[in-house]
Every structure is written in C-alpha cells, then in structure tokens.
Symmetry: D3
Subunit: 247 residues, 6 copies
C-alpha cells in the first residue's frame, strides 16, 4: 500500500518532520510518500493562506494518484481543501484534523485541541462543528507561529505545554495537537501530562490504511461527485476537469 | 460609493447579467463595477470548482480595492472564498448567499433555497448551517447546470419553477434563488408564486451599501486578521501577503 | 422613502436620540419619522415590560402605515413584538437586534452583545438563538438601567466601557450595543476599542432601506399571515383585525 | 390548594370546557378556578392574537393572586405571555404547551403535536425548540380554526383524527393536542389510536399541583426577576409595576 | 395510588433517606414503597456502576409491578436504566434527573446541577442534552463521593455549599441536587441561598403522581415497545422477556 | 496484535459470521479472537436487551484482557455498554456503530444507516446524535429481526435491499449496515448499489488496529476513570471493581 502524505505548505523541513511521523506509525508493507506542495504559502495560518494552498495540494494529489498512491493525506490541521480533494480524485483522502478527532473521540469524552495562532481558532472550531465534535471539544491557541515550531530556541515548546496545562486543568481528558508541525511532540507530551495526546498525522496514516484495507473509496454521487468537465481560464487552466473527470 | 461585484467564474455573459441585476437596485450615487474573474472555472458547481475560483476572486478584489472600491461582493451562491476575501482586504466583503439569507430571514420564517445541481446542495447546506439558518431553511436543486441558465431553450426556467412549486407546497413562505445566474428571474417568479423571491445579487448590493454607509469594515482582530507576511511559492507567489498586509 | 422608527417605550428623550441616530445614517431621500409609543412602559427591561410595549408599538405602526410609511423599525433591542408587527402589517418591519446581528455577522466571526441589566441577558440570548447566531455571540450586561443612559453623571458610560473591555479580552472581534439608548455611542466606542461597534438603530435603518429598495415585503403565507378577523374584547377592542385584515 | 386556570382568550364556552378538563384531573382538595380573560382576542391564532392576549392574562393572574391562588395555568397552547407572567407574580405559573411536552417526554421518545391552523405551526415549533424538545417532536396542523372546535358539525373532529393518523403513520409514539380547545378529546382519541394522547390542560394541572406541593416558586433572580418599578403610560398605566413589585 | 421508589444501589441507609424524602411530599392517599436494589453496586458513580445497577433495578420494578405499584421511580440521578425500565414494564417509570429538570425548567431559565464526583459530570451532561436542557443547564461536581453524603463529619455539606455558591455567582437562578443522597438537603439549601433548590426524588414523586392521575402509561409502539420474547443465557436467564411480554 | 471481538449477544452462529468478517480485513499479524457473550440475550433489539447484554460483555472483555488482548471490539450496532467497557478496562474499546460512522464520514457527506427493527431506530439515532453525526445521517429500519438474518429463506436480504434503495433515492451517498449480523453483505450490496457500503465490524477492526498501533488507550481521567473500588451485592458481586481497579 502506498500512502501519499501532502504537506500543503511549501516548507520542506516541515514535510520531513511530517514524513517521519507518518513512517513511524505506518503498517507493515505501507510505503509513505511525503511531498511538499509545489506552490503556495510557506505556512498556513488562517483563511487566506488556506485558500492559496489548495491548488498545490490538488497538483500533488494528481501527481501522487498517477504514481499509484492508494490514498492521500492532507497534512495541515485546517484540513485544507479536503472537500475539493475528495471531489477530485478516485482515491480516499484523509484530513489530519478529522482523523485526529475521530481517533480521540474513541478514547475520551472531553478533548482539547491546541492550535498555533489565535487566528486559527475560529477556522478549526468551524471544522470541529462540521465534523460533529463541538459539544466535546474546546479549541485554543498557544500563540506560536507555525514556522516557529521549526526553530530551536523559539520557546514554542514551553508555550505549547503551558496551553496544554490550562486545558487539562479545565477538564480535558485527551489532547489533540492542532498543527502538523507538532507531529514529533505527541509521545513526549503524553508522557509528561499523563493522558492521551493525539497527533493528526499519525492518526491520518491509520485512517488511510483503514479505508484502503476496507476497499472503501470516496462516494461519487452527491456532494463529492467528480467535477463536471469545463474550461478553466488563465494560469489555472491545467486544473480544469477533463471530459473523463480526471485532471 | 463604488461597489465592486465580482463574478468569481470566468463566464462574461453571466457577469453582464449580474451587473445588470446589481445596477437595477443600486442606490443613488452608487457605482456598480462588475468584473469577471481573470482566471479559474467557467462555472462553479461543487467543492472543486469553488476552490479554484478563489485566486481569481482575490485578484479581482485586489484590483478593485486599488481602484477605489468601497466594498466588494462575491457573486456566486456558495460564497466562494468569502472568508479569505475578508481576511485579505480592507474593505467590507459581502457574499450573496449570506446576504440573501439575512434578507429573507427578515421577511419570512420558513425559507426555501433552490440551487442548480444536486452536488451543490450539501455545500449550500453547510453555508446555511454556518450562518445559523439551518432550522428555517430547506435547500434543494432544480437539476439545471449553471451555464444552462444562460441558454434560451434549455428548459431551465420550467425546471426551476417546478422546484419552487414543490418548495411552496412544502410550506416555504419565501424563496431564495440559489445561483447568481438566476438574478434576472426574481421579480417574475415572485409575481407568479405570490410570495417573496430573493435574489442574492440584489440583496448583496444593499448589504454592501449598508456596511459602507455605516462606516463598518471587516474586523481585523481574530479570525479575519490580515494575513501574516510570508513567501508564497510558484505561480501563486504574486498572492503572498506583503509585509504591510496588502497583496 | 419614508421609514417609521418606533421607540416602543414611552420616554420621549430616548426617541429623540434614536431619531437622531437613524437620521445620521439615512440614505438620500429617506425620511425618518421617529415616534414614541403612545402607551406602555417608560423603559423595557425584561419579559414583563416587553409584553406591555406591544400594543403601543402596533398602534404606532398602524398610524405610520396609514400615513404612508414604507417600512417600520422596532427600536428596542429585545425586538419587542416583532413577530406580531410583521403579522399585522403590509410593510416590512425590522428589529434592531436582528438588524445588528446580521450586520455584525458580515464583518466578524465572534461578536459580543453588551446589554443593560442582567435580567435582559436571557431574553436577548433567546433572540440570538432564534436568529441563529448563538454559536458566534456572547451576551452580557453592563449593569446599567435603560434610563440611566439618559442621565449625565450616572456612570453609565464607564460601566459600558468596562464590559466591552471584558468582552474584547475574551476574544470578541466586534461589539453590538444591546440597547437603543446606546445609539449615540457607537462611533466613539469603535474608535476607543479599535474594532467595529454596531448600533442596532443605524443597522436597522439600512436593513429597512434595503428591503424597501428591493421591493420585498413580509411573506403573508404561513407564520406571518394576516390575522384572521375576530372580535377583541374590552379596552383592546380597537386592535381587533378587521374583516379585510387591517386593524 | 387553589389553582387559577386562565383562558387567555375571551370565549367563555372554551373556558367552561377548559375548567371541566382541569377539574376532571385535579387532586383531592384542589380547587380549580377557571377564568376568562377580561380583554383581548376571542381566539388566539398566531403571533398577533398572542401579543394582545397578554394584558388580559396578567390582569386575570393579578386578580387570582390577590384572591389567594397558589399557582396559575395559562391555558393556551402557545403559552401566551408565560415569561411575562412568571416575571410578574409570586406564584408558580405553568404553560400548557410546556406541561404537555414534559409529560409526554416521560412516556414516549417521538411525539406529535397536532395544532389548529398552519399559521400556528411555526410559533409552536419555536416553543418546542425553546423548551428543548425539537429533536423528538414534530408539529403539524389539522386546519381547523380554534372556535370551530366549539361548533358541533364543523367537521373539526374528523380533520383532527386524520392528522393524528398521519402522525402515527410517520412514527409518532404519543400525541399532544395542540390547543386548549381540544381538552375534551384526549381520552377518546387515545382509545381510538391505541397510544397516549396528552391534553395540555390536564397536564398543566398536575404540574401546578407538583410545584405547589414541593413548595417551589418561580426563581426571582435573573430572567424572571420582579419588574423594576416604573411608569406605564396611557390605558396600560394600571399594569405598571409598583414600587413593591406588585401591579 | 402506590408508588414504587427504587434505590438502584444497594445501600439501605440511602434508601431510607430517599423513602423519607418521597413520603414527605407524597399526596394524600399515595403510598410510597421504597426498596433497595437486590443486587449490584453499593453506590453509582459513573458509567460502569450504572450498567451493573440495571438488573437489580429491573428486578425491583418487576416485583413492585406484581405487587400492584402504579408507577415506578428510579432514584439515582443518572437515571440508571430508565429506557430499559420503560421498555420492560406496563407502568409509568420516572427518572429523578429528568423529573428534576422538567420541574426546575418551569420555574427558572438558568439551572445549575451540582453532582457528586467529576466522573459523573459527563454522564449527567449527556442526560441533560438528551432531555433537551443543554442550553439552560450547567453541570458541575462538588467532589464528594456518594456514600460520603451518608457520613456525618465527612465535610460533604460544606463542599456542596461551596459549589452551589460558585454556581449562583455564575448566574444560576435555580439549583438541582445531582444525587439522590442529597434529598434531605433541598429545603435548607434553598433557605440559605434564597433561590429554588430542586431535589429529584421529591420532583419524581410528583411526576409519577401526575402520570398516574392522568391515566398515562409508557407508549408501547416504537422505542419503548415491549421486548420481543427470546432466550437469555446464563445467570441472566430469569430476565428474559416472556412470550406475553412480561418477565 | 490480538484483537478481542465480543459478540454481546449469545448466538454463536452470529459470532462465527462476525469473526469471519473481522478476519477478512485484519492486518498482517493481527489475531482475531471472536467470543460469544457468556450470558444475556440471544439478540439485542432495543433498550431492554441492550441493558442485559452488558454484564456478559464486561465478563468477556475481562477474560480477553487477562488473555492478552490489545484492544476490544463491541460487535453490536447499538454499541452496547461501550462507555462502561471503556471505564472498566485498560485496553482501547471500539464500538461498531461509532467505527462505522467515523469511517463513512470520511468518504461521504450524507449517510444512511439501515438497521433491523423499528424499535432500534431511536436508540441508534441517540448514538448518532451523541457521536455528532446527526446532521449527516438518517436512520431507518428494514423490518427484519436480528436472528432472521441468520435464516436462509427469511426474506431478510430483499427487505434490506428495498430499504437501501429508498435511502439512495433520498440522497444517501453511502450506506452503513446497522447490525453486526449484516457483516457478510457489505461487498455485495456495494456492488449492487454502486456506492460505498460500510460494515461496522470490519470498520471496527481497523479502528482498533489504529488505536493499538498509535499506542493510544482510553483516557483515564474524567468520564472514563477506572471505577472506584466498592462492593457489588448479589449475583453481580464478581463484577465489583477491585481495589486496584481491575475486576
């Protein structure tokens, strides 16, 4: 089984970390192909960056699908372009926010999601509500920019720990790390706080393996129907759905 | 007052119709500048097209803002890129779905939204839920492709009327037309069915006029904060937020 | 266009302030007719006062409608008698709470409503929920009686500012003033706190202008159907719906 | 124990029926005092009538309270003025819609409320939602005017039965009669359809008995706080809260 | 009328207290039969204990029903086995959590439920949500084990009062005692805090009296249909539904 | 990895079918241990049977845990005793309803759950709501008793297909089989209807594998805390939590 893990931002060091997290939990015989988006924002912080990460994400999924990927993972916690990616492709597509929530939801009732910047709280809350976890989840930010997670000495780790401590004091039974760039910290934080800490990248690998093993692919009637063939103008023309529904 | 009306698809005939609908309700001294997106899909039908309409939309808003627009309207019923556009700019941005719902909600309790294709029902339902109107609104499709609305003889009008008739029989007190391409039909349909029919383009013009008149602009703390400056790679580089927060 | 602005309480100084706020934002050619309710409570604080403000409100709307008003505004933040007024009349009726919420909702995700007394918090929360904004809005009170807003030296302004400061610290991106008697403070508070502050009276003027410009009136099938003709006993007899549906 | 049952419309024949229904279930030693509202609409059908029923209701409760009533019942299914009545008085006040729902909710999961006219469906749905029963209750109308229930030969009974049959076919496990004027039919309908049929008047008598027996009265902090003393103008002056909180 | 009050835990001293609370509010001619569950946990604290309390509860109800009980009360605040008990029997079954909420909901808008241990907060919140009271109710724990309520000198009373004080400071208008073992404290706490305090045992007695007086029994179509006859294996064989639907 | 699959009813033929379904999707190196509950109902149809299936379920999990199981699956679609099982054990516990929903939710927006008898619809709807999928899921019954699924010639298959056809006509994009006894039918039904059909048993195997691979176990603070040590009376005494938290 070959799983494509797309980092929808364009920072390769983060892709490396994500790939490592994915490989560390991948099942026997599962190949992880971690790719960096070929275009768009260096990090995804809020609604604007998110929108501009979608074309690169789709390009990466199209490439991966042609290269034989069995499923794709969108490795950014705002599940960038997830619905578009599901409409586009023939393979299952997993988002790390959704994967983390469904995983945490099977081991805890009250869940804290700790994300990076305040501006990302509302976008994540909207995802949480859409996925149906609003009554069980509280989202907060630790006030760390995404790329600061890549910089030793940025103080990111201690800010993150402080925010987790607040969440635990408020009754959280499990913690979800709200950024793909935190993927390497889950085990240490779980040990430190004595409760389950879920990393979305790892969770998504197992959800993707599950869907592939079960022979399940995205439903193609209704909301995720393959896009109708039509012209796309300008520099986005290469993304136009072809008459056979493939880009 | 100058209002920018962006058709986020690239079909100029639809822009003409939208511009006309906007001008027919614009207040005295309000200039309507209707523009066609410079890139992306010829029509927006479902999640995939929607994602690829955002760059063109932002480009059009950036141009319009530089040219002195006081507010912008996103003239596609799935409110394509609305959150990104609000984060981006300094001027208010109005979506035609949200504008239509807040308008209809002040004159009726039970509202029917009639959109084009079945694949658009779920995306519109998700908007309706996000805006808070789920308990009062039912969304259905009339099974007409967006561009068929531009073609005389396509049978689009009669399919639309049949779906409205079903909604009225089911208790709808007002109807919202769920596609910018239906903007020219509101008055005739209202007369035919004897109840209020709301066109989102017209509704959005009045909401934009309202925000500008009130001196209100998008909140710039929290979810709509101006994007942090950062690099965007590849062909999307021109969209990178600048250090002063303008693209 | 002639807009009737009804102060549903019987305090004329508040009507003057409300009328001024309305006129300050009214469009060209829009005449504001601000009237004080002819009967009922001097201020509306909680469920009991609210119920006794409805007859005077309806009387004022009936008069205004006969005098040619194109739309009516209910200028009390608990949207006193709004559903009754919409059922009664042939002209659109706008409530300042609903108008403020739909306005703020187009420029911010998280909204704070600051009202007067603690006893008004639950009634306003019930409105917020009914209008669909519960997930985005927090309601709190600044512990100022409505009429204290009319008295220089009452300390009302500083209590209001303290409550707004608390709301902003809690993540509010925009503020809605939860009493018609605060209509004169919006601009100064917006400047002071650096975020949008919405006054419901001004917002309602623009919503009423919008509905009239769009040729939209209240739906008359279903919940807002004209009252059936019937006798009303006692001193309320003059309010009985006539056989032709007009009072 | 003395229970005041207020028919908030002014039709004495309906009061007689309501009083009889109340007395048929009243406990030993419970005196039922059924009164007709001294002013307002002959029947309550929709938002407009409802608003004009409140002054008469409050007048009746004030009288009843002075005469020693231990609790009051508002015997109209839209729970006319219930929040105002609770704010006003010192005795518990029970609404027949709320009483019927809490009763039916303890014996069935899925409940059908069958009300009179289509225009009452939305007001009742809003009550149902406010009371928290929206997920379990469906509201429909049998297309019978309230006073037609008083007229032999009006065909009201068969229309009501037809609507109940539809609800049962749709999965309803219990039925709530959505009008005080149906109070005499519960037992016969229950026998005919073989499932519990709840009449709100009877249910309310038992809820009022319960509150009185338990020594519970309306909370007087927060939303139901006694109205602040203030002037009421015009013909509503007699309803002004006095300085000691009694009208 | 004979009301069976089942203490679904096996601690007889708590049954005595519950029986006393029930008798103190029972109507004239109402006999209270308080029984201790014949098997299962000594106290019910969280999901695990709750599950093991059901067989004893059903056994007690079966016995009570055979002995002529007219209704049964489940006297544990997590409404242990309530749905199973309603499916089982022919008599109405009342839960003390549901009874307390419907009672408190008729006298207050904002309600605090104070339960024993933190682990019981989520189970009670799930009940509150299921019953439809989530928007009005906050649940918290006073950190007292159930059986500590039986021990003089345990400090339980002062911890409970401290938690109530916090709830009142947070806006609660009424308090519900979230454990049957607190049944003796309601009156004193109401006097001390000056607001209504509802004990679920007392509330349930009145709800059971109400249902019996109204001639209402559990709906037997749909969710509460009598269990289909089938074999039960092992030591649970005596609980198998018989072919005539009785155990 | 060793996964315990508990059939919480006592029908061994169903356990065989469930075990086969589990083994057909289990990963390399995953041992499936399928066990039949040692006591309780022959099939689980509604609230009553469900309650009596819990002791046998816990006994089976306790045995399995002692024998080295890494995770447990509750193989009945009403997720019988799932919260109790999670509180009890040290290993992750997966329910087939929850597993099926989180799986289907990653490949479709609108999901139909088709269960057996009408009496199970409400219990499943309550699960769906609790898990957060209510807005996307419709539950219906195909009117087949659980054990009829085991009998060739019972007509069960055609009734199930008829109900799926109805769901698809109503807009379902994916189907979830709402009974463990349907586990063998998923692939054939998916082929016949041309959309994803999810069997909960298979889905649960992959979710359990995922949790074990990720090193995640049930949170043990809060709602799922290990039961406090205490006595259990009567025949349930063996289930009492021991002082070290193991039964």
């Amino acid at each position: 089984m070959k799983l494509l893990v797309v980092n929808p931002n364009t920072t390769a060091s983060m892709t490396a970390k994500i790939g490592e997290a994915a490989r560390s939990v991948a099942g026997a015989g599962v190949e992880i192909v971690a790719v960096t988006s070929p275009m768009g924002p260096a990090s995804i912080e809020g609604f604007y960056d998110e929108a501009f990460a979608v074309p690169g994400l789709i390009a990466a999924i199209a490439d991966g699908q042609r290269a034989g990927a069995d499923a794709a993972i969108v490795a950014c916690f705002d599940d960038t372009g997830l619905d578009a990616a599901r409409s586009f492709g023939n393979i299952p597509v997993v988002g790390i926010c959704e994967a983390a929530l469904v995983t945490a939801g099977q081991i805890a009732k009250r869940i804290a999601v700790v994300t990076t910047l305040a501006r990302s709280v509302v976008p994540v809350e909207e995802l949480v509500r859409r996925y149906g976890y609003a009554e069980r989840v509280r989202v907060s930010a630790c006030d760390v920019a995404v790329l600061a997670l890549e910089e030793p000495g940025s103080g990111a780790r201690s800010k993150l720990e402080a925010e987790i401590a607040r969440a635990v004091a408020g009754g959280a039974e499990a913690v979800v790390l709200g950024c793909a760039g935190m993927a390497d910290l889950a085990k240490a934080l779980s040990a430190r706080f004595g409760l389950p800490v879920v990393d979305g990248v790892a969770a998504a690998v197992k959800q993707a393996e599950a869907l592939v093993s079960l022979g399940l692919a995205t439903a193609k009637t209704g909301a995720y129907a393959t896009p109708s063939p039509k012209a796309y103008a300008g520099m986005l023309a290469p993304f136009a759905p072809e008459s056979d529904g493939r880009t």
